[in-house]
Assembly symmetry: C2
Homo-oligomer: 291 residues x 2
């Protein structure tokens, strides 16, 4: 199967369920702001990783039983984008070709929409009636850890604080924490849902970490040489803001090579899985993508 | 027992555990910002309510087995204060007599410190090894709901959006969602931890809702007539900002009367509990307090 058309199909599948699980209520502006940002598009990579990781250890896994959890990680991802775009943070006006949340709804509602998407993620996961409570607690712990102060939030803080110097240690810290640890968590919880063995879960964790690092390097590369129209956002913003990126520290060619090496490592990890094919193609797609 | 000295003792008890459960790591500024705001003081009312609600249904409950959960609700409360104080929200420079988080650490780190305290709450609850996974999932669901878009976050959005008009419906919506639903959740999860019956849990939910509403009315009253030095923040800010408050809609005397009525209702609810004494005194304290 051609991975691009498969991912497109899966993205549409996820988006049908996003529609279903997006909460509604009052004040209307708050819920509108959440829906606006969640519906702004994107690859839906994280929900897809949850599903494909579950299938990689258990091809017969019942996707209906955890589709709410797969969707919820996209809500968490969207919260992080809304907050990252705020004037006090990266101050971005455009995301996926559309005005950012605070541009449309104002800063206060954007902050609250992000806060609300985070809490709603945990509300949604803990409302699942199909998986065992033991699994749900592990999923919540992994997701909270991967997106929290020891993961995404810590990485974003590093991204803001460590902008000035060309230190590789800082760069690695930022990429690992800001992006890779959450992606790692998506792969791990998928494996957990599919009843993977300890060895399989470790392989998925390593796979997630490696593709997460490669994903962020590719993001840095696309900021440098990507097509603004395809990306739906301004490029060269990292340079403008003097951000610490792979191309800045290593140059473009070496950055591409490093991303490739991470993908190779990821592919090695998942050989032991029941059905690793889609995860393999997905890993390669990560560094081939233009968006 | 005199309730003020009892609450002081309980506050000190909670604060010893806050010290223990506050995470540390890098970037140091992020963790410092979280600790700064959590350690800024406060009554520690929400953790105390978790503990006292558990004891009210089961006087012999083992507090050590859930002290992490009691502490975690204070982290969640602190996240909401940090975000509420932001320039785009209530724009407050002072909280409990100290400069607010963004004044000391900057807006970006303050936003992330709030985000991080929210995720760390769920990380901490899901790390508890003493309670059953079933209980933990229910606790997470209740806390996420009470502080999320159907609770605190929704109420704060209402507080921002509904400032202009004297509508009682809006006022009631704000108070119930911004303050009461989280306090209700604290009482409910305490009862759940103490293995309360369905009837007892309902009584605790109602008690929590009523004292939460009374608590917010008293907050409105203290903003109008309180002592700035005791409160550690500027008073009359609600008026200045044209906020929708009880004194604004009903006047001071009727507001006091309404708060009193809520406390009476709360007291009626908890009569059926095993040991309601401390919760009774706590309810009365809520409208007697000057801080």
């Amino acid at each position: 199967m051609e991975i691009r058309s498969y991912l497109k199909k899966q993205k549409e599948f996820i988006e049908r369920y996003i529609e279903k699980f997006l909460p509604s209520g009052i004040p209307k502006e708050l819920f509108d702001a959440m829906a606006y940002s969640v519906n702004a598009g994107g690859k839906r990579l994280r929900p897809i990783l949850v599903i494909e990781s579950a299938k990689a250890v258990n091809p017969k896994v019942d996707i209906d039983s955890f589709i709410d959890i797969a969707v919820s990680v996209e809500f968490l991802h969207t919260y992080s984008l809304i907050h990252d775009d705020l004037p006090a943070m990266d101050n971005d006006d455009l995301r996926r070709g559309k005005p950012t949340c605070h541009k449309v709804f104002g800063e206060a509602i954007a902050i609250l929409a992000g806060d609300g998407l985070q809490s709603y993620t945990f509300e949604l996961i803990s409302s699942n009636k199909n998986l065992s409570a033991e699994k749900l607690v592990k999923i919540i712990n992994s997701v909270a850890h991967g997106t929290g102060v020891f993961g995404m939030v810590g990485g974003q803080a590093g991204d803001i604080l460590y902008e000035k110097e060309n230190k590789f240690n800082d760069l690695e810290f930022i990429h690992k924490h800001k992006t890779a640890k959450f992606i790692q968590s998506c792969c791990y919880i998928g494996g957990l849902i599919g009843d993977g063995t300890e060895e399989q879960l470790n392989a998925l964790k390593n796979y997630g970490l490696y593709i997460g690092l490669a994903f962020q390097i590719q993001d840095d590369i696309l900021d440098e040489i990507g097509d603004e129209k395809k990306l739906g956002k301004k490029t060269r913003k990292d340079k403008e803001k003097n951000k610490l990126t792979y191309p800045k520290v290593f140059g473009l060619e070496k950055s591409k090579k490093l991303a490739n090496e991470y993908i190779q490592k990821a592919l090695d990890e998942i050989k032991i899985l029941e059905a690793p094919e889609i995860l393999s193609k997905l890993a390669k797609f990560i560094i081939d993508r233009e968006v």
